[in-house]
């Protein structure tokens, strides 16, 4: 040591300088990353408080209606059945909405907690689609919107077609799409629900003839808590989670979603998903096999 020639010294200094530069570059990159994350967190915080006021409406309003209506029923003259029936119908539609929105919120909470997992069974797709559409029948009738169901899968057991997937998640995905389609439809129009197979993938599309979504807005509608304030029928309804949840659910099922829409001409949302596999690369469906052996590395 100590006997460095000038040249060696210069070389060493150059090397150190370069290293320092490298570290600096990495540092700026990291700090950029960090700033980005901070900004997003701040935005999300703001959106979240927005969400709380939305959600309050979503839960409190139906409850108020249900309480008020049931109280009114209690004081109705016993022989005035017509009045009771119409009030019960209202109670049902409010309760349905409440139930459906709560389901969404719980799923969102589960996704965010990392507790979501596919629960795969053989699902009768035709009957599932029909069930979901039926559940919206009261609301659609009230709005004068008709459903046009096009089930384009022929094969299968008789008229039924079975597909291995998670029925609850698929139901919620379809419900969210149909609910949106209704929300943005004009009175006395229709909503087309199509189901078909494409290369063994199950596809479903929901088409409405409502307001449509501009190209710019198509990019942001999947962001959580974001809502476009262009709903015709229900100006301030919704919590803005529907599509984010739909996307997360499709993630779990390995599926995809696409939008095709033009402002003023309605929108078509198309989802596709592969059939679930029983075996995940070496794990059986129930995960009960022992596949590790003596060659394992142990950490």
């Amino acid at each position: 040591m100590g006997n460095l020639t000038d040249r060696q010294l210069l070389k060493e200094l150059k090397l150190r300088l370069e290293e320092k530069k490298k570290v600096e570059v990495e540092f700026t990159e990291l700090s950029k990353d960090f700033q980005g994350v901070t900004k997003k967190l701040k935005e999300s915080e703001a959106l979240k408080s927005h969400f709380i006021s939305n959600i309050t409406n979503e839960i409190v309003n139906p409850f108020t209606s249900i309480l008020g209506l049931s109280k009114a029923i209690l004081s109705v003259e016993k022989n005035d059945w017509k009045k009771v029936v119409s009030m019960v119908a209202l109670i049902h539609s409010e309760a349905f909405n409440l139930d459906y929105q709560l389901r969404n919120i719980f799923v969102a909470a589960k996704v965010e907690a990392g507790e979501i997992a596919p629960n795969i069974t053989k699902v009768n797709i035709r009957s599932l689609v029909q069930t979901v559409i039926d559940s919206f029948s009261i609301i659609s009738r009230k709005m004068g919107v008709e459903f046009d169901i096009q089930f384009n899968i022929d094969h299968g057991f008789g008229k039924n077609f079975y597909f291995k997937t998670d029925s609850e998640k698929l139901k919620l995905i379809l419900s969210n799409l149909i609910n949106n389609a209704l929300k943005y439809s004009y009175k006395d129009s229709k909503v087309i629900v199509k189901v078909w197979l494409d290369d063994d993938e199950l596809c479903a599309s929901v088409q409405d003839f409502g307001t449509g979504i501009s190209e710019k807005n198509q990019k942001i509608i999947f962001e959580r808590f974001k809502r476009l304030d262009s709903g015709i029928n229900s100006i301030n309804r919704g919590h803005g989670l529907g599509l984010s949840i739909t996307k997360s659910l499709l993630d779990v099922l390995g599926g995809n979603i696409e939008i095709d829409s033009q402002k003023g001409e309605g929108s078509t949302f198309t989802v596709s998903m592969p059939e679930a596999q029983n075996i995940v690369d070496g794990f059986s469906g129930d995960g009960n096999d022992i596949f590790f052996d003596d060659e394992d590395e142990i950490f």
């Binding site: 996704v111 979501i116 997992a117 997360s248 690369d281 009960n288 950490f299």
Partner: protein, 158 residues
């Protein structure tokens, strides 16, 4: 010995922690799993995230490393852990896709980096790891002993 354990298969974007003895299984490609284990209370948990940082748009789920690591740690602390007793092991982060397909590559590496940075920041020691490379991995985590059994997959996962 595996018979005495309850089993849990860990899906991507999820996490699992238990004070009961569990064997937690998962498969990793470019995803990363961080195993945290409390050496004093002898229990632990694992996450399995796909991307390094949350984009601020999707649900804030443990699909993203920065969220998955904090949530896992939160869960451990919620079950009574002291952060000083927690040790970490990191697995996964392989590059399974061919290089040169745009800047979408190096997901694995970025996933690993988030784990190392975040754990270092929180003073959690990484006592073992098997990361990077070009192959997928299967891991088994024994939540009571903190032991991890690890095997490379022969074929590419994705």
């Amino acid at each position: 010995m595996e018979k005495n354990y309850l089993q849990h298969f860990l899906y991507p974007s999820s996490l699992f922690v238990s004070r009961e003895p569990y064997v937690i299984k998962t498969i990793l490609g470019s995803c990363v799993a961080v195993c945290l284990w409390d050496k004093k209370l002898k229990f632990g948990g694992v996450n399995h995230y796909m991307l390094p940082n949350w984009n601020g748009n999707d649900l804030a789920s443990p699909k993203y490393g920065n969220i998955a690591i904090d949530k896992l740690l939160e869960r451990m602390l919620g079950l009574g852990s002291n952060i000083k007793d927690i040790q970490a092991k990191i697995f996964g982060g392989g590059e399974l896709l061919e290089r040169g397909t745009g800047n979408s590559t190096l997901i694995g590496e970025r996933n690993i980096r988030v784990a190392r940075l975040m754990l270092e920041e929180r003073n959690i020691q990484i006592i073992a790891s098997s990361t990077g490379g070009r192959r997928g991995r299967k891991i088994l985590f024994f939540s009571d002993t903190g032991e991890v059994r690890h095997k490379f997959l022969e074929k590419k996962v994705y």
